[in-house]
Amino acid sequence: MSEAGTAITRDYRLNDALSRVSQIIGRVLLYGILIFMSLWFIAPLFWMFMSSFMPLEQVGVFPVEWIPRVWQPENYTDALRFWKFGTTFRNTMIITIFSLFGDIGSCTLVAYGFARFRFPFRDTLFLILLATLMLPFAVRLIPVYAAYDAIGWIDTFYPLIVPNFFGNAFYIFICRQFFLGIPQDLLDAAKIDGANELRIFTQVMIPLAKPAIVVIAILSFQNSWNDFLGPLIYLKDPDLHTLAIGLYKFTSLPGQGGIYNQQMAASVMMVMPVLIVFFLFQKQFIQGANLSGMKG
């Protein structure tokens, strides 16, 4: 009886030890993979940053070197001489800020309309809204370009700003989901107090919808800041170029192909504002990604 008991205990202990070993191996493996993947994701960006301070002859050496032999901050000032950073930065800011206001204003209005009112064909219209997400930009590209050309908007910021005042399907979707989650009681209370629709919208809904608005603001900022194709076709005058186009032109200038360190310095200058915003609003970035993954 007691013998069998100790055997079981011993067996149990062995199992326990085994499962602990396998657990440790599992953890080591887990963190090993996570570290490897982080390096895989970050290494190119880290190298961009480091090589932006390297002397030119160090950038092309093999095997790859990671730490500048001499730190050369003048790569940045040299890059600025070829590339009108100030102008492109200002242009990008103008487009980004106006687009941001357009997106927030139009998308909250429209989302509120879809979320809180009953009107004929509402659900059909909302389906159409979702369907437009499927329409490839390539299909819209040419007629829209031709139309802007006809009204003289090529080489102005209007094509990059004005459409944002008419609602973006994806942001409207995000915002509507959020509005649907706000309890009706709050609105009814405001109505009983005699507030009109516009007042309810601006004084009750908008303050409550702040989290959704921040998400839209971030997506809109990212969209304008990173946009390449739009500025590429609409802005031909170098004085109107955005950061994205300025950077592209800088790296593809004839004879500039070789100055990797300055190209990396220019890239760092373009990336920095986005990274700063990302680190300040990380939670909202993640939220934005999550909202985009919600089923409708």
Binding site: L141, I142, F166, F228, S267, I286, A289
Partner: protein
């Protein structure tokens, strides 16, 4: 009261109604009409019937080539995003320490502007001194001439796309975190091992999220353009000429611009994306499981 409500509702959505007419319906119809014309922006469009479509299907070798390249990118990059994104989300869902840190590190490349990423990756993929060849050297793989060799050029873009799984991963992670612990406890009591729990509990419950990610990523991947335009412009020997690059060149690079031809290409792309979406949506009833109670 009902009438008043409808009036306000329509008033609120009015900006979008104008927008959808101007920026979706008008271009949608106009590009279809333009696809039957010869159009160079300067002169008014000139009707040519189905000539562009005929030319595309019979006499444009780059149409098939770019379609094939795009198909490779769609298949490869969507598989990478779904599989790698899901795998990373699973790893992060194991009560891992420093969850926020890992999630941030995986997400960072997704917020970096694509122009800057493209320029950096040109050097990562540099044949002589690039990071990737340096890394592969540790495994005894000799230097690959990524953008000089037609067999490797498209693969290079797929490798680059692995660093963008951040958004997909975050969506999966949120989905995984929403699965109630009781389901796993019940499966454990029934004696299910880890693989069985993954296959019988996690994946079925995640099918709505997988479905959505497949759809979003397929539609996006068919339109791959910017990094190809910046990094190779379609070289070497059109091995990386993607579909949208091909139609962009016709509209904006060639002189005189061939906007009508480009519109025909755009409409074919639309039909392809539409067909893919329709098939996926139709098939979803067979493999996507919504939990009871919700919706």
């Amino acid at each position: 009261m009902r009438k008043r409500e409808a009036k306000f509702g329509l008033l609120f959505i009015a900006p979008w109604i104008v927008g959808v007419l101007l920026f979706a319906l008008f271009p949608f119809v106009a590009s279809f009409v333009l696809s039957f014309t010869k159009y160079n922006i300067v002169a008014p469009p000139e009707w040519v019937g189905a000539a562009h479509y005929e030319h595309i299907f019979t006499d444009d070798p780059l149409f098939l080539k770019s379609l094939k390249n795009t198909a490779v990118y769609v298949g490869g990059s969507v598989a990478i995003r779904i599989i790698l994104g899901f795998a990373l989300a699973l790893l992060l869902n194991t009560k891992v320490r420093l969850l926020g840190l890992w999630r941030t590190l995986f997400y960072v490349p997704s917020v970096v502007p694509i122009v800057a990423l493209s320029i950096v990756w040109l050097y990562v993929l540099n044949a002589r001194a690039g990071l990737l060849n340096w890394f592969l050297g540790f495994f005894g793989i000799s230097r690959i001439r990524w953008f000089a060799d037609p067999d490797f050029a498209m693969l290079a873009f797929l490798i680059m796309s692995t660093t963008w799984v951040g958004v997909t991963m975050v969506i999966f992670l949120a989905g995984l975190q929403g699965i109630p612990e009781e389901y796993y406890d019940a499966a454990k009591i029934d004696g299910a091992n880890m693989a069985q729990r993954l296959w019988r509990v996690t994946i079925p419950l995640m099918t709505p999220t997988i479905y959505l990610n497949v759809l979003i990523n397929i539609i996006g991947a068919f339109q791959v353009f910017t990094q190809v335009f910046i990094m190779t412009g379609g070289a070497p020997r059109d091995a990386t000429r993607t579909y949208v690059l091909h139609l962009f060149d016709h509209a904006f690079q060639y002189l005189p611009p061939q906007m009508g031809y480009s519109s025909a290409l755009a409409w074919i792309l639309f039909m392809i994306i539409f067909a893919f979406t329709a098939v996926i949506v139709a098939s979803s009833q067979r493999w996507v499981f919504y939990q009871g109670g919700e919706e």
